[in-house]
């Protein structure tokens, strides 16, 4: 039920943002995560609050699922002082919360691999029992950083879980055109770690697979690669008309919609209450962020140096 609440909240947030981008415009690129909320929330549901998260760039479901409030996330999106980066990371890419173990995101895709492995190394050295979960897309799996990080993490049995959201598209590139194997998970064996394929539209299945991997990591047995098969519903960014794509998904039709699949498990009345609360929460959070002041331009000179 908690997973459903979070998934549906993220869905409303996705729709609210799309509405804003379409009507008001937006000073950056919004990389929508609609349709992928289930796996994001599901995987993170398996994490402890103190575990570390490196998210991917598609949506803000990860951060909300990890415990961040929607106000700073919307604030980042809208360039408000209440945003977690006060306009300096902004957009949808670089929100962060040290308090919630949300360690941020690199603007160069695939740069999180090495950072995630490094944070897991810190946990191993400190013996703090934390696990680092790194999300990435099928596209980023082509980076050399993947190889360098996956190799070293496995050699040192670092407590890290790699979660690949395979939505079949790296911007305009089809996964099958860019991978010699049918699955990203096929590559796991090269690094001596388990490779697990899971239905990304099934939040509970993702949660369970991630929970197993996290436990394994916590036991000191090293990393696991989870590949969650999902779909990219919208373009790479909101406004991307996807001329390269023949199989465009119509906006309102999310095949195997994770929201519906989870909702079906909950009695209608209860679900309607959750939906209403979630919608209200999102509207209020968005309004609060929208009403917040813009940061003073003097912030641009802050935070360069410690």
């Amino acid at each position: 039920m908690e997973i459903y609440r979070k998934v549906v909240t993220v869905r409303f947030a996705e729709l609210r943002i799309r509405d804003h981008v379409e009507t008001e415009g937006f000073g950056g690129f919004w990389h929508p995560g609609i349709g992928q909320e289930g796996l994001q929330v599901g995987a993170i549901a398996a994490m402890r609050p103190e575990d570390y998260l490196y998210y991917a760039h598609r949506g803000l479901g990860y951060a909300y699922a990890k415990g961040m409030d929607m106000v700073p996330l919307f604030g980042d999106l809208l360039g408000r002082a209440v945003g977690s980066t006060r306009g300096k990371g902004g957009g949808t890419v670089h929100f962060a919360s040290a308090e919630h173990g949300v360690l941020g995101q690199g603007g160069t895709l695939g740069s999180n691999f090495v950072l995630g492995a490094g944070t897991a190394l810190a946990s191993q050295l400190r013996g703090d029992g934390r696990v680092t979960v790194v999300f990435f897309g099928d596209g980023a799996s082509g980076r050399g950083t993947w190889h360098e990080a996956a190799l070293q993490a496995s050699v040192w049995k670092l407590p890290v879980v790699w979660v690949c959201e395979n939505n079949g598209w790296a911007l305009s590139a089809r996964f099958e055109d860019q991978s010699p194997t049918p699955h990203v998970a096929d590559r796991a064996s090269a690094y001596g770690m388990p490779g697990v394929i899971v239905d990304g539209q099934d939040a509970l299945a993702v949660r369970d697979a991630t929970a197993d991997a996290i436990e394994r990591a916590r036991r000191g047995e090293g990393p696991t690669l989870i590949e969650a098969k999902t779909l990219r519903i919208r373009g790479h960014y909101e406004g991307d008309r996807q001329p390269y794509r023949e199989d465009q998904v119509k906006d309102d039709e999310i095949p195997n919609d994770p929201v519906h699949r989870l909702g079906a498990l909950i009695p209608d009345e209860q679900r309607r209450t959750i939906d209403g609360d979630a919608r209200r929460y999102v509207e209020e959070a968005f309004a609060a962020a929208l009403a917040a002041p813009r940061p003073d331009t003097s912030v641009i000179y802050e935070d360069v140096w410690a």
Partner: protein
């Protein structure tokens, strides 16, 4: 070149009778910092069992174990990116790229992750990472293993840049670097590893960032030099002194932050400035210093600010050709003679 001067320092001369090598001073700084702070650990290629290709980490594995002195695969993006991640997880990583040139193979991690992570995320994190970068010509290492890339690091805000020229500075600056909350690129000069000089034994000895050292006081011409070029500038200064040109040699020691005040003060006295660097002449840090000095002290100048730099060529491998590509004491003397005509 061997006339390493007893530093007549603007921040206090090195008060030590003990003579130690530059490489040994770095090793000592690492050991002391590993002892001082359990968050400190080392990572890099061949730094553990071998003790580093230049022997800088010899003996550290034995004292601190494989957990804290870690041999990695050949994976510079992990060495630097992993250090960034470990810093986010609460550690103080001191990593080594086998050659400073390899900062290009880890460029995304250095110039994006280390330099910008804190900023991009609204100041929520600090990244106390030291990247040790064996730099400069060492006699036959070739175009991809001999460069002086410190200026490139200066151009990307968010990175501090140290360029020690003496054993004492190597130790004192490295210790400051480890204790600094910001990422530091530590350009240690391979050609100086075997140079010896006085190094204080106290584990409390540090050299603060942003304070230049007067390597040789003088009245007629200010020469700013770093790394290997400091010794050559001092040697040139001794020869010029015999001709009545009294040269002041200033070693900034860190380029970020840059102690421009000391340089300007010297120029106000000598009215002439030459910057000497091993890196290619074009767009080296000499250009930056020249610009800053004329912005701040234009009316103190008797002559154009002059640069003596490496040739604008990739570094050739043969050691003789290599030396021809970087400034020698002769080159500095020649340039000073030419400048004296103004």
């Amino acid at each position: 070149m061997t006339t390493m001067q007893q530093p007549a320092s603007v921040t206090g001369a090195v008060d030590s009778e003990r003579i130690t090598g530059y490489a040994r001073a770095i090793n000592e700084a690492l050991a002391e910092e590993l002892r001082r702070d359990e968050r400190v650990f080392l990572m890099g290629q061949d730094i553990g069992r071998l003790g580093g290709v230049f022997g800088l980490t010899k003996g550290l594995l034995e004292e601190f174990g494989t957990e804290r002195v870690r041999d990695t695969a050949i994976n510079e993006t992990f060495i630097v990116g992993g250090a960034a991640g470990a810093a986010l997880g609460g550690m103080v990583p001191v990593v080594e790229l086998q050659f400073a040139d390899f900062l290009f193979t880890a460029a995304d991690e250095i110039f994006h992750k280390l330099a910008k992570w804190r900023y991009m995320h609204g100041g929520q994190f600090t990244l106390p990472v030291v990247v040790r970068l064996p730099s400069g010509v060492v006699g036959g290492a070739g175009a991809e293993h001999s460069q002086s890339l410190e200026t490139i690091a200066m151009h990307v805000p968010g990175l501090k840049v140290a360029v020690p020229a003496t054993p004492a500075d190597a130790k004192g600056l490295l210790k400051s670097a480890v204790r600094d909350p910001d990422p530091v690129l530590f350009f240690e000069h391979k050609g100086l590893y075997r140079v010896k000089g006085p190094v204080p034994e106290s584990p409390d000895f540090v050299v603060p960032f942003g304070s230049a050292r007067v390597a040789r006081p003088g009245q007629d011409l200010t020469i700013v030099a770093t790394g290997l070029m400091v010794g050559r500038a001092v040697e040139a200064a001794e020869r010029l002194a015999a001709e009545g040109i009294d040269v002041e040699v200033i070693d900034p020691r860190t380029l970020v932050p840059l102690d421009i005040e000391s340089i300007v003060a010297s120029v106000e006295k000598t009215h002439r400035l030459m910057v000497v660097h091993e890196a290619a002449r074009t767009a080296g840090f000499g250009a930056e210093i020249a610009a800053q000095v004329q912005e701040r002290a234009f009316f103190a100048l008797d002559a154009p600010v002059w640069r003596v730099g490496g040739s604008d060529i990739p570094l050739p491998q043969d050691p003789t050709l290599e030396q021809a590509a970087i400034p020698s004491a002769d080159d500095i003397v020649t340039a000073a003679h030419a400048l004296a005509a103004v």
